[in-house]
């Protein structure tokens, strides 16, 4: 383990976090809020500690795969630990643990909240809450890589550990350039949404926070009723962008460089099909609940987009919908977005590999000597990736079941517990029952909150980086 290099990168991370806090700081100054001070204090703290850690670059800057995993996990933990400080010291969230839950929920783009009421929070706090989504969506280390000179090819390990999806492919040969392109696309799309929201009559503050919440597929709103009280136009814009941000970002790059026929790959086609089919079924199922068909389609499309993109905004209490719809909505929570997007869940491409592999196995039981590779878009998938995908699903289920068991001590009903884990490990936010669109997570015990915090981080970082932290051999010199 190259501890010195880990310390160095964590130091840089804190420096960047101090930079990120400029956003709420400026917001606070614009609105003349007293709480701005707490951001200034936290920034000084982050900058001091970060500066000390990042001061001298170690001679041996070699990073292997295990350092990549550890750096990513520790970075996200450190980011959350420091990011929670302003909520806590300002008294906006009186318990540090709750503040941490809120921050992890923010950075992991989950959007699960322990607050029952947000409108009374200062604007700068709300801005920070939403901005953590934006930072967490594309990945903070990818951001650092785009701007910091990290050594050679080794930063690929970091990118691999942070970017969601069964396999990570670079857009261009250099990691640094890839990171820059990804962030430019991210920034561009966020900006377009911001402008469209402004055109819909939203004020600058709400447009920004909503755009940040959508871009990271997070789901923190600034109103108590999430998106319900906005105009249909705004709701449609948010629906569209939730879907856009759950598409693999390399599709946008291919679109930009003009390789249009490569854009509609199997993953994107499946995604569009699933969204269309689920919207249709749910609309037919709930049509009696709404006055007009248009209104029904709007709410269903919004909800489906919100849950499959793992954002978690709500316009309607879908917990009150018929059983078929509720079941379908929980199922799409597991499917999640496309790989290489800002969304969570299992990811479409991972499920494709998994299912195709499973069907191949059945085939090889009938024809034991048959040789057949799993293919996606006509390309054979590396058997290593197929294996890693299978292992991933096993760990996913293990973590899921264990979490479900651990939080069941709190005496909530099974639907609440099951969807609470579903909503956190898939980074969605709201579930059903007590944690439904109108509820929140504040009722859980301290222990359960810790379990759910773990699930949010593990879900965002796709399990392995977090799990290797628990292996003793990771920490050997």
């Amino acid at each position: 383990m190259n501890y010195k290099m880990i310390r160095n990168i964590l130091g840089w991370l804190l420096l960047f976090e101090a930079g990120f806090m400029l956003v709420p700081l400026i917001t606070g100054i614009c609105y003349g809020e007293r709480e701005t001070l707490f951001f200034a204090v936290t920034m000084i703290l982050c900058a001091t500690i970060g500066g000390l850690c990042a001061w001298n670059k170690p001679k041996d800057s070699v990073l292997y795969a295990r350092e990549g995993f550890v750096i990513v996990s520790l970075s996200w933990i450190a980011l959350s630990l420091f990011g929670a400080i302003p909520f806590f010291i300002s008294g906006a969230i009186p318990s540090y643990l709750d503040a941490l839950f809120e921050t992890i929920s923010g950075f992991s783009t989950t959007g699960a909240s322990i607050l029952s009421e947000v409108e009374s929070l200062p604007k700068c706090m709300l801005m920070w809450r939403s901005f953590t989504h934006w930072v967490g969506g594309m990945g903070v280390l990818v951001f650092i890589m785009a701007f910091m000179p990290l050594s050679g090819g080794q930063n690929m390990h970091i990118m691999k550990a942070e970017t969601p999806g069964p396999s990570v492919s670079k857009l261009v040969p250099r990691v640094k350039t890839t990171a820059l392109i990804l962030y430019s696309i991210y920034l561009g799309l966020t900006f377009i949404q911001f402008i469209l929201l402004l055109c819909g009559g939203m004020d600058v503050f709400e447009s920004l926070t909503t755009a940040f919440g959508t871009a990271g597929t997070g789901g923190f709103g600034v109103r108590n009723d999430s998106m319900a009280s906005y105009s249909p136009y705004i709701q449609w814009v948010v629906t569209a962008f939730m879907l856009l941000f759950s598409v693999n970002f390399s599709c946008y790059y291919l679109l930009l460089i003009g390789r249009i026929k490569d854009v509609f790959n199997a993953e994107l086609r499946s995604f569009v099909t699933i969204v269309g089919a689920v919207t249709l079924i749910v609309t037919l199922n709930v049509r009696g609940l709404f006055d007009t068909l248009g209104e029904g389609v709007r709410h269903v499309a919004f909800t489906v987009a919100s849950l499959i993109s793992t954002t978690g905004f709500a316009t309607e209490n879908f917990d009150a919908w018929p059983e078929l719809s509720r079941t379908l909505l929980v199922l799409i929570m597991f499917i999640g977005a496309c790989a290489g997007s800002t969304g969570g869940g299992l990811k479409i491409s991972r499920l494709m590999i998994l299912l195709r592999g499973a069907f191949n196995e059945i085939g090889s039981m009938i024809f034991p000597r048959r040789v057949k590779r799993v293919t996606v878009d006509g390309h054979p998938v590396d058997p290593e990736i197929v294996r890693a995908t299978n292992v991933y699903i096993v760990w996913y289920m293990l973590v899921f079941i264990l979490s479900l068991f651990l939080i069941s001590f709190d005496q909530f009903d099974l639907v609440t517990n099951f969807t609470a884990v579903t909503a956190t490990i898939n980074n969605i936010g709201p579930g059903l029952g007590v944690v439904g669109p109108t509820g929140n997570f504040s009722g859980f015990s301290v222990f359960s909150k810790l379990v759910l915090m773990f699930d949010m981080l593990a879900g965002r970082l796709e399990l392995f980086p977090v799990l290797v932290l628990f292996s003793p051999s990771t920490w050997k010199k």
Binding site: A65, G152, G153, N155, M156, V172, P173, R174, K176
Partner: protein, 451 residues
């Protein structure tokens, strides 16, 4: 610059590594998925799995944006095909590796007719380098600039040498020959020499001089100028064949030991004057019987690096021969440096240097175009030769008043066929060729030496 490398063998990987460090965007193509996976995990490059000679794979790897394609697979025909297809798909430059002696005699024709920018032949280049070293057996390595008018050689100061304790600035006056010391390697550190540097035993120095002054230098060092007269070569592969033809032209007698009968017959048909021995050189008695004790030089060129090292160590222990060892695969440079070997030849590095020069010259020619580039100390110090432009900013300034970046040495000026070892009052004129020694990657082009 966007560079595509087809073939991820040793040469391909070395190229990817060095060109990537030099700031280029690299895409590698290989049909072996595990090799591509390994390279992309280790280096900041993009990998594509597939046959690089197909248009589809080249398209997928982005041939449209590529400035240079380098085909270095193990097959000459495939390499040429890659270049042809790439040339049709985009207007990129192409470099092919061609190692088969049957094609290499047609290099010029291939280059012109197929529109290749460069044909590289690591085996041939290695043979040339070995031949140069054999001409000056006392040097570890010799590189030449300006078509052989200037030589840059490396020399290890032996125990009890008159050089030890001498300052760099006294070399010319005390030895009475016009040479310039460029670099000194001591205990894993490397220095670009300034006048006050004091030599010690076991230092490895690199010296630039005209061939005549190089001979003078070695005479002053107490060596009789004994060019090697007979060479014992182990291994009869492509490098050995190129070496035979080069040495044959200089009238050096060559004996080759090869264990494959078919290769032996092929060799003896092609080079009737070469003495071809069929036998396994791993057997000491064969080496002794074939006269290793009295050989002027011993060159280990088998395909197995470990065998080459052992054979060379054995040769060092039983004879006074000049020993040359070819190392292609293993990458324990630090260990090899501390072994008691005379000269080690790394074909992959020689090739990488050639291509690196080409790429650098493509990128920036401000102030003068780059003609040759050698890495003097691998990855640390390099020497480049430039032709000075009419309007170059470095002309007409006396060297002692020129504001240069630190650690930059103007090592030689070649003017009208005359070699000038520069002193403080000399100036660079347009049309000159100059050799500049600098830290690796410290400068982009000749104009960049100025502060």
């Amino acid at each position: 610059m966007n560079i595509m490398i087809v073939g991820c063998g040793k040469v391909g990987q070395t190229l990817a590594e060095q060109l990537n460090e030099d700031g280029n965007s690299i895409t590698v193509i290989d049909s072996r998925a595990e090799v591509v996976r390994d390279v992309t995990a280790r280096l900041d490059v993009m990998g594509v799995v597939g046959n690089g000679a197909t248009h589809t794979i080249q398209q997928e790897a982005g041939i449209g944006q590529t400035d240079l394609l380098i085909a270095v697979t193990g097959s000459d025909e495939l390499n040429l095909l890659c270049c042809l297809i790439a040339k049709k798909a985009s207007n990129c430059q192409t470099i092919a590796r061609v190692k088969n002696p049957a094609y290499s005699s047609e290099t010029g024709y291939l280059k012109d007719e197929l529109g290749l920018a460069m044909v590289i032949n690591p085996e041939h280049a290695a043979a040339n380098e070995i031949a140069r070293v054999l001409r000056f057996p006392s040097a570890i390595r010799i590189d030449s600039f300006a078509h052989g008018r200037v030589e840059l050689f490396k020399y290890k100061i032996p125990e009890g040498s008159i050089l030890s304790g001498m300052a760099v600035k006294d070399v010319v006056s005390k030895l009475g020959c016009d040479v310039l010391v460029c670099t000194v390697e001591r205990d894993d550190e490397s220095y670009i020499a300034n006048g006050n540097f004091i030599f010690a035993e076991k230092d490895i120095i690199s010296v630039i001089a005209s061939p005549r002054n190089a001979s003078e230098f070695f005479r002053a060092m107490g060596y009789k100028n004994r060019a090697v007269k007979d060479v014992l070569v182990v291994g009869g592969g492509e490098t050995a064949q190129y070496l035979c033809s080069v040495l044959h032209r200089s009238g050096i007698s060559v004996k080759v030991i090869e264990k494959d009968m078919g290769v032996c017959e092929h060799l003896s048909n092609r080079f009737p004057d070469v003495c071809v021995i069929h036998g396994d050189a791993a057997d000491q008695s064969i080496l002794l019987e074939e006269g290793i004790r009295g050989a002027g030089a011993f060159v280990a060129l088998t395909g197995i690096d470990e065998e080459n090292i052992f054979l060379s160590l054995f040769a060092k222990s039983v004879s006074h021969a000049k020993v040359v060892t070819k190392i292609h695969r293993i990458a324990f440079d630090d260990v090899i440096k501390h072994l008691d070997l005379d000269s080690t030849i790394y074909p992959k590095n020689i090739t990488a240097d050639q291509i690196l020069r080409y790429v650098r010259a493509m990128k920036n020619s401000e102030g003068g175009s780059m003609e040759t580039l050698y890495s003097v100390i691998h990855g640390e110090v390099e020497a480049a030769e430039y032709t000075v432009d009419e309007d170059s900013p470095v002309t007409d300034i006396p060297l002692m008043t020129m504001k240069k970046k630190p650690d930059i040495l103007i090592a030689a000026i070649i003017r009208g066929g005359q070699v000038l070892i520069p002193r403080g009052s000399d100036v660079i004129l347009p049309g000159d060729r100059v050799v500049v020694v600098s830290r690796a990657k410290a400068i982009d082009g000749l104009a960049d030496i100025l502060l």
